[in-house]
């Protein structure tokens, strides 16, 4: 058996990417449709 003195189990923190106020898909599609009509 090799004893290294450093054996360990380690879990790592994670990070978060949060993006507020994302436009709901329905509104986005509606706007795109309106823009198409306007254009």
């Amino acid at each position: 058996m090799t004893t290294t003195g450093k054996s360990k189990v380690r879990a790592y923190p994670a990070t978060v990417v949060a993006v507020d106020n994302v436009e709901p898909p329905a509104d986005r599609d509606k706007k795109a449709e309106e823009a198409e009509h306007d254009g």
Binding site: K6, S7, K8, V9, R10, A11, Y12, P13, A14, T15, V16, V17, A18, V19, D20, N21, V22, P24, P25
Partner: protein, 156 residues
Amino acid sequence: MASGVHREFLLELFSAGHDVDGTADVIRCALFDNDRAPTVDDTATQAAYNGAGGSYLAATAEVTDATIWPATGIAVTADVSVSNVTNGIVMYDLTADTTNSPLTGTLANVYYAMLYNDTHASDRAMSWHDLSGPQGVTSGTFAVVWGTNGAFRLDA
């Protein structure tokens, strides 16, 4: 301890209690507040999704949103292609960051992401990961981004 691996999970690995390196067992990522900090020595009852006396109570500690982060969490997939690293290290990593994007919703007071084995009879909690809370999102998208070291490592 800000992040850790539950001892009960490691113990059960010796008895073939988990098949978590691919798609055999369903692994989920659930979010929790800081009502109670998890510990590596949580008992078998505590180290489980919705385990009594533990940190992962569904009714009081879990943070959910019907759209972007439903109760019981989001299913994830282990990345077996990078699970074995050199120098005596075994890494448990996931194939992708955990998110339901582009769906949107609201979350608040998120402190921990917890991985658990949903196939296990007790929904064994595997590990928890500090998210530097409180984290949240308002009518937006939310992603747990796993680091380059994976979720956890066993270093021989």
